[in-house]
Amino acid sequence: MALLELQDLSLHYHTGRGVISAVNQLSLALDAGESLGLVGESGSGKSSIAHAILRLLPAYAQIRQGRIYFAGRNLLDLTEPQMREVRWRQIAMVFQAAMNTLNPMYTVGAQVVETILTHEPNMSSKAARARVEELYALVGLPCTLLRRYPHEYSGGMKQRACIALALACNPQLIIADEPTTALDVIMQARILGELESIRKERGMSVIYISHDMAMMAQVAERIGVMYAGVLVEYGCTIDLLAAPAHPYTAGLLAAVPSMADDVTQLQEIPGEPVDLYAPPAGCRFYPRCSRATAQCKEQAPPLLPCRRNRDGEHKAACWHLL
């Protein structure tokens, strides 16, 4: 059975300017021990999904329909105290922009200890402190840094501290929202390598969220591509990279700066991201798509298995598959 299963999830934001449909009828499943990548540009709804799973959405967000099953329970049915049991002990998150996650007024060590004691009140503070030291060793930070304040950490160190924080209560699932966007390439390779080895050691599941296809290709076993709140393609990373079925996925892949000798220019996807207050009817990608026809303008394509894929796992939502 899947560890996490999203069924038909739709999510709206009510803002002063109108209603945004941030996630539209999205279904996804994730097995225990698996790593899933959610790829898409800003506003594609990938972070909204993460916040919906942890039920950390702001008050102006509304889940219109759908269910989020985690280990057999629908998280949307849980009461707030029940949800607190789930948060961090079962599902933890590495938030985007690690620099803003830590409280500047407390030492980082105190914040990690506080997190552990909040979620595991029976633990002694001494044991909690010992756990924090283990976690720091795990993510490659010297324990002397525990008594330092966030501003004394570099960007890479803060990101590692946030990973330590996410691992604090041994969760079954970690959601890493753009964990390396603010970091340079060397630090990115190190942090991702670290997260992946911890995932494999502990048999955790990880959902990576990013707009960077190159980064995803390195860590995710399966990739879901989102565009304007819609899942447009889903499949095993190897298949998806070798033969993308949706034009948007192909565009994202061509936009990756490559070191290959035959690539001399980057390809862009023409046009601008969708205005979510007034998304186009039909396929949301059609205004930017080179293969669009009259049908795309009128009817939204469903997410269906690609014909060439035998086990039916590789799916795409497009009337004119590549």
Binding site: G140, V185, I186, Q188, E196, M259, E268, I269
Partner: protein, 338 residues
């Protein structure tokens, strides 16, 4: 391209900038971050030079020094043969007109309370260029040049109404509206989504040919530098460690740090080398650094000699190439065997 015909637009001579750190209790000596430490380099007329390095290596500071956005501790920057720190009055205004900086974050670079038109016209107003009508015309022209068409509709908008890619285009328009000769672009695409990044990169390339710009492109990603730049300079903790033609650097990196950067570039379809993080890998700052090679603690090929010698000087290595490493000869041997 004939390299002898290209005169440097900007040249630095032993350029250095130290930032003082606040004194901690019980500390005897004052501490300084050696952000830029004895950099001698030149940017040639019409070229695109990439400045590549990790966060904290001083690449942004070096870029700011070149356009006199900050003042050096010692050393000098020569712009078209003139020492920029000595410019005053009218000549300084002329200099400010000719050099521009494009910032990393298009969300912070634009005033949220001014329309696109006001943002882009501001440099023209400061330099008292033309009449109101001429200024409007130039704004309209540059906006269509950067791909914001129809320009009229964009002129009346506010930054919050634009996407990230559009904002960066406005920032580029603002930098280019005065027809500068030298532009420093500080990671202009790192905050953008990958689907629009390519468009902004292509725009920069097109504009460079049209306006015969000289471009210093600052980035941490060698894969981007490869697509944008003619030459690449690799920086590590305040020093240039390798410089040369872009294809040379990428095909035959000589400095061990350049090789490390190349390996870190994510490649599609390649699994990540799973490695334990070591504490030694953490980002370093050059705080009161030791005299020997800055890269020593991370270097895979360092030996006793490196531990005893000073930081290696940037030495010419065939044609356009220069490397600061004592072990270059050994590197070349290994590469020619392989």
């Amino acid at each position: 391209m004939n390299s002898t015909a290209q005169l440097p637009v900007v040249r630095t001579d032993n350029l250095t900038l130290y930032f003082p750190l606040p004194k901690r209790r019980g500390q005897r000596e004052a501490q300084f971050v050696h952000a830029v430490d004895g950099v001698t380099m030149s940017v040639r007329a019409g070229e695109r030079l990439g400045l590549v390095g990790e966060s904290g290596c001083g690449k942004t500071t070096l870029g700011r020094l070149l356009v006199r956005a900050c003042a050096p501790t010692s050393g000098s920057v020569l712009f078209q043969g003139q020492d920029v720190s000595k410019l005053r009055g009218q000549t300084l205004r002329q200099f400010r007109k000719q050099v521009q900086l494009i910032y990393q974050d298009p969300y912070d670079a634009l005033d949220p309370r001014r329309t696109v038109q006001a943002c882009v016209a501001e440099p023209l107003e400061i330099h008292k260029e033309g009449t109101k009508q001429e200024r409007d015309e130039r704004v309209r022209h540059i906006l269509s040049q950067v791909g914001l068409v129809p320009a009229e509709t964009f002129m009346q908008r506010y930054p919050r109404e634009l996407s990230g890619g559009q904002r960066q285009r406005v920032a580029i328009a603002r930098a280019l509206v005065l027809n500068p000769t030298f532009v420093v672009a500080d990671e202009p695409t790192s905050m953008l989504d990958s689907s629009v990044r390519a468009g902004v990169l292509r725009l920069l390339a097109d504009l460079r040919t049209q306006y015969s710009l000289t471009l210093l492109y600052i980035t941490h990603d060698l894969a981007v530098a490869r697509l944008v730049c003619d030459r690449i300079a690799v920086m590590y903790l305040g020093r240039i460690v390798e410089v040369g033609a872009a294809n040379q650097i990428l095909q035959q990196p000589l400095h061990p740090y350049t090789r490390m950067l190349l390996e870190a570039v994510p490649k599609l379809g390649r699994q990540l080398p799973v490695s334990r993080l070591r504490q030694a890998d953490a980002i370093r700052q050059a705080i009161n650094p030791q005299p020997h090679c800055r890269f020593l603690s991370r270097c895979p090929i360092a030996d006793q000699e490196c531990h005893h010698a000073q930081h290696p000087p940037l030495t010419a290595y065939g044609g356009d190439r220069a490397v600061a490493c004592y072990k270059v000869a050994a590197t070349i041997d290994v590469q020619s065997q392989a």
